[in-house]
Symmetry: C2
Subunit: 344 residues, 2 copies
């Protein structure tokens, strides 16, 4: 039979209340008794029963705040779906969610949204901007007892509880691996990134270059442009790039803007010449895959990211549990036309 608080209490000759105080660090226990209880719990490998915790937790109520830069970015549609489903799943357990959305990555705007939420939440899920001011704010919340979970974008040197998102470097490596296979290892590549200011985008490009160096000497990056995650800018930049570099026969799109890129390729009549690899499966990308323009896309489980971030926040609030290594890394999944539609 499993070890329970009751059993530990009996074994130590104290009451359940005392064991609870020790195991949950509530203080007010004589040091000797505390030591004894800890020793016994350790030896018996006590694991709190989740169902019991959840049931007892129903009496409380948890408000979780969410801030995402989802406006005008369809990638976040599935992230938000995952969050909403988690809210549903945890509704029974007294979880309420307040979502604030923003457009693009404006530091002051994000700070303002955090301040709007901060008084009324028990935890914050933050699609964070990698910036010192934001990091300081995260530390402030954490010190106040509001854990912060970074979602999709991480931030270094902060007291965030954990990061939920993909491994961007590995994503870039996977993209290059696919391009290598699709082109027989010979390609002149144009890179269209989102912004050199965004860590994740740079990491993808870095991963891409890693694999060139490691396995594909025949792949060469001949030009590089930024789209600011905007289809129009991507369209213009791609057109310019392809006109200036007639030798380009592959495009690596490290961020949003794939639709603009594809339209540029079409407008120059280069559909059959250029191999395109990109990220995520937003509707416009799916459309371009069906047209045959985009051969492969690397996806990062947006639904799972949203869903998991909420569950992690709840688990931490209820039982102090935190994920292994302070992170939950989703997979980079290769999708081609044939395996696009599958159960999440």
């Amino acid at each position: 039979m499993a070890v329970t608080i009751k059993k530990i209490a009996e074994l130590c000759g104290v009451s359940r209340g005392t064991v609870d105080r020790v195991l949950n660090n509530r203080g007010k226990v004589k040091p000797e008794t505390e030591a004894l209880i800890r020793r016994v719990a350790e030896q018996l490998d006590y694991k709190p029963n989740i169902a019991g915790k959840a049931l007892a937790a129903r009496k409380k109520s948890f408000v979780i705040g969410v801030i995402v830069a989802s406006e005008g970015n369809p990638f976040f549609d599935d992230v938000l779906k995952g969050i909403h489903q988690a809210e549903n799943e945890l509704h029974d357990y007294g979880v309420k969610i307040i979502i604030k959305t923003m457009k693009g990555y404006d530091i002051q705007r994000q700070l303002k949204l955090i301040e709007e939420l901060e008084g009324g939440i028990h935890a914050l899920i933050l699609n964070s901007i990698s910036d010192a001011e934001i990091a300081a704010k995260i530390d402030e919340l954490t010190d106040k007892g509001i854990p912060v979970i970074t979602l999709n974008t991480d931030i270094e040197n902060s007291k965030r509880l954990c990061y939920v998102g993909c491994d961007y470097v590995k994503g870039g490596e996977t993209a290059c691996g696919m391009l290598g296979l699709l082109t027989g290892g010979r390609a002149k590549v144009g890179v269209i990134t989102g912004s050199v200011k965004i860590l994740g985008h740079n990491q993808r490009v870095q991963g891409f270059r890693n694999v060139i160096k490691r396995r594909y000497p025949g792949i060469e990056v001949v030009d590089f442009a930024e789209s600011n995650d905007d289809d129009i800018i991507a369209f213009e930049a791609t057109k310019k790039m392809l006109l200036e570099h007639k030798e380009i026969d592959a495009l690596f799109i490290a961020a949003a803007g794939a639709y603009g890129v594809c339209r540029a390729v079409i407008s120059l009549g280069l559909e059959n010449k250029i191999t395109i690899v990109c990220f995520d499966d937003v509707p416009s990308t799916v459309e371009m895959m069906e047209k045959g323009l985009i051969k492969a896309t690397i996806c990062q489980q947006p639904f799972l990211q949203g869903n998991k971030s909420v569950h992690i926040a709840y688990d931490y609030l209820v039982s102090g549990a935190r994920p292994h290594n302070d992170q939950f890394i989703v997979e980079n999944k290769i999708k081609i036309l044939e395996n696009l539609y599958q159960t999440p």
Copy 2:
């Protein structure tokens, strides 16, 4: 606040016990009261609280039997790991698991194993052979109140509770999609399947042909052989095939035996000529991917299959919950060298 049995009881002016009897079909309730309770529960959209159920269920104990054809088949290593982890996760809830393994697909042997278990289990997870005698046995168990979950291989026309595994047709389609991309849509393919008697293998080949017809007229299947999931037989068959058909420049391996196939290719010095696509990422396949022989493999989340099958059995025993559409379909994941190692 969520709807509970207590609330329904109050609203109907009866005791919790009575509501419980109605909602769990235990009988012994006056028809009028039953109708009233059902109506109220329906209207309030009553959803039983899982934590409550789990807690109450601790008093019972569940024995789940598992039969898998895992002997000599490393694919099942991860399936078994998933099962063991589920046992760990549910240990607190009184779940015990008895695993019986077999080698290959021998109907009489499988029947015998079922009979050995049948007296002492509350549910059965069965890596079933698609056969009428087995189907009849499944129905017998089901009628006795022992739900049967088919794992990795399904069986038609039976009263099994649900199927946990992949969509084999889609797996074959994905494999052909990859091969099309890797070869620029032009290939002379040799197909090495496991056995024409195994439904899943046939479905993969079917999916492969679907995509040839749909998108890749330049891909042609020139020969076909069986490996019986055995590396030695696969080795011999591949060698023969490649010697007879010098034009073959791609191999589609629909089942186990990939290692034998690769060794045949190596022994003929054709490493650089032949594009190989296969299934699953057993250690010998990973080795061949690292050597560059296998370009891509389609994986089917073995760990998740094992883990999920146990959880589904438990959920059904505790709360009568069954998965949507009587199945839990795992994904066909494309893996190349760069995204082979990731969190499960």
